[in-house]
């Protein structure tokens, strides 16, 4: 129905702090009900972009539109956004229910309406029985849920999560990722997550925006982001890869032949002959067995790391280059350290990126 209508639109938003550019003409469109992650290293501008959407940071240029309204110059308390902070920022002088009720109270809602909304929000995060507790009496995971309930209770047009799960320990965080995604889909919330955790980004989002130096390098569905990284930065930031530097010998219709330290390799990409490039492939594409029309390179096994469902094999291919292969449990014999092996991988899964973009 209204699925395709843009719900949140960020148009050419820029922000500078002194001489440092934090956001560099960011464009982002989020559909109603969509879960989008801003993924990037610290300092990439992801938190500033989130704060610009919330109204907590004023952009120097550009526009922000939410639910068909230009909110660029609207103060935060009139934007109808919900923010879950990394530190949760729960009010310590109020109870759990008092925190969840806060947004409705300051909007002047009727008491009966507030009570019903608080009960609904708390039961949604499975804390219905803790309404009377003080914040300091809660565990970190429970505080996280209260912060979520508080943000949801006002039925905001968009929910913004600023590294909201990063304070939890690993196991709890992974559980919350799945639960949070289910919960947000249940209430049909539009949400933006800010994180530096690629697993969180891939698990929680419909689309991921990889950010670097104040720009969005790639905005794509998690699967596409992993399989078809648009830049060397996106490749490096999400998942593991083999990366070999070389020089383009010949280019032909989206394909290039590259001379590298480990031999001649073919890759997808558009470059002129003579360009310096990085040739890359995901580790699960590298096999010990021969593959037809494939790149291949040989070397000595440097390390073998068993990780349960998969085994990572790192091979020293000489000339300072190394290869990383991920062997699944079905791949049969696993090589041992110091074995001489040859790895091959399909050309269609090999990418070339310009050298200078390396971070």
């Amino acid at each position: 129905m209204s699925e395709a209508i843009p719900h949140l639109v960020v148009r050419s938003v820029s922000k500078k702090y002194g001489p440092t550019t934090i956001l560099d003409h960011i464009d982002l469109t989020v559909r109603r009900g969509e879960l989008v992650t801003l993924l990037g290293p610290s300092g990439c501008g992801k938190t500033t972009l989130l704060r610009a959407i919330a109204g907590l940071a004023q952009p120097d240029t550009g526009k922000v539109e939410l639910a068909g309204r230009d909110i660029t110059n609207v103060p935060p308390h009139k934007r109808n956004v919900g923010v879950v902070f990394q530190s949760y920022a729960l009010f310590p002088h109020l109870t759990v229910a008092g925190n969840v009720a806060f947004g409705l109270k300051v909007r002047g809602a009727a008491k009966r309406e507030i009570d019903a909304a608080v009960e609904r929000a708390l039961s949604l995060v499975k804390l219905g029985h803790l309404g009377g507790r003080r914040i300091s009496a809660l565990s970190g995971g429970q505080q996280q849920r209260v912060a979520l309930a508080r943000a949801i209770a006002v039925e905001p047009d968009v929910l913004l999560f600023d590294e909201a799960l990063s304070a939890l320990d690993r196991k709890l965080r992974e559980e919350m990722q799945v639960e949070l995604r289910r919960l947000l889909q249940e209430v049909k919330a539009t949400a933006i997550f800010v994180t530096h955790d690629q697993d969180e980004a891939l698990t929680m989002s419909d689309r991921v925006a990889v950010m670097n130096k104040g720009r969005i390098e790639q905005l794509a569905e998690p699967r596409e982001l992993y399989l078809r990284p648009a830049s060397l930065f996106a490749l490096n930031f999400v998942g593991l890869s083999t990366r070999i530097s070389g020089t383009v010998l010949a280019a032909d219709n989206g394909k290039v032949d590259v001379e590298t330290g480990v031999g001649r390799l073919s890759a997808l990409g558009n470059f002129q002959a003579g360009s310096s490039v990085i040739v890359a492939a995901r580790p699960e594409q590298l096999r010990i067995s021969e593959q037809g029309e494939a790149n291949s390179a040989a070397g000595r096994v440097r390390s073998v790391v068993f990780q349960g469902s998969r085994t990572l094999v790192e091979v020293d291919a000489g000339a300072g280059e190394s290869l990383l292969a991920e062997l699944s449990g079905r791949d049969g014999a696993v090589p041992r350290v110091h074995d001489e092996i040859r790895l091959s991988w399909p050309v269609a899964e090999t990418f070339a990126f310009p050298m200078e973009a390396q971070v």
Binding site: P75, H77, F91, H93, F102, V106, V154
Partner: protein, 287 residues
Amino acid sequence: MTEAALPAPMAAPSVDRERLAAFGFVLPSVVIIAGVFALPLVLLLGVSIVDANGLTFAHYKRLLGSPYYLGVIWNSLRLGLLTTTIAFLISYPAAFALARARGALRSLLLATLFLPLAASVIVKAFAWTILLRSDGIVNETLIALGIIEDPIRMIFTETALIVGAVNIFLPFMILPIYAIVAQLDSRYAEAAATLGASPLVTFVRVILPLTLPGIIAGVALVFSLSVSAYVVPTLLIGEKYPTLATTIAKAYLLTREPGFGAAAGVVLLAIAIAVVTLSARMSREPK
């Protein structure tokens, strides 16, 4: 290593040992407080209700029954309340400014706050008399600038008293509030804003309650200091504004009525304790 060598028997008595150690740590302060504080207070109470003929409440009747001494008590309360209120109004925004300041400015502001604490109250009160007297710096300046023709009477007025008291006790209000404000996470205000609270509502519902412990500490300190101040009223306003503190001094030093002085001391103490207890209770119970 054999089993006998393991320090197993240590486990049980260690709790008692910890308690004993804790007791040892507080013992010196208990001795000092009991010896130089609690004991004299009990004696003070005793002197105020016992005279040569035995038990008597005559001193309290005189103190609480005459319009003059009720006026004295009111003067003390008025000094305490005015000083505390004005000091709070100045200190609250100042504490925020101090917490926001960075680098050299912050060091400078903190220094201006701490340095006066090193000077004696007498010195500071005298400094005010020099500033405010008829041929003082303030009057001379105003006359030199042609703003006034004759000196304004400033010293020995209630205004002078309150101005001096606020100035002298100000650090005791700013510092406890600053200590709370400096630790206040700016995310609280941001969270309130995103939940729909205007800056004013955020202040009333979030900032004020969260800084309340600092306010209460500052109010308790400044009130108990100013309600019992002796030097400040003596130097800045004198005889015409008798307070409980000056009455006590007069009873002991001039009229030689230790029983009456003790009773005035007990009343003053009761006022101070009431205010401190009340504020301690307020800070313990979040609304």
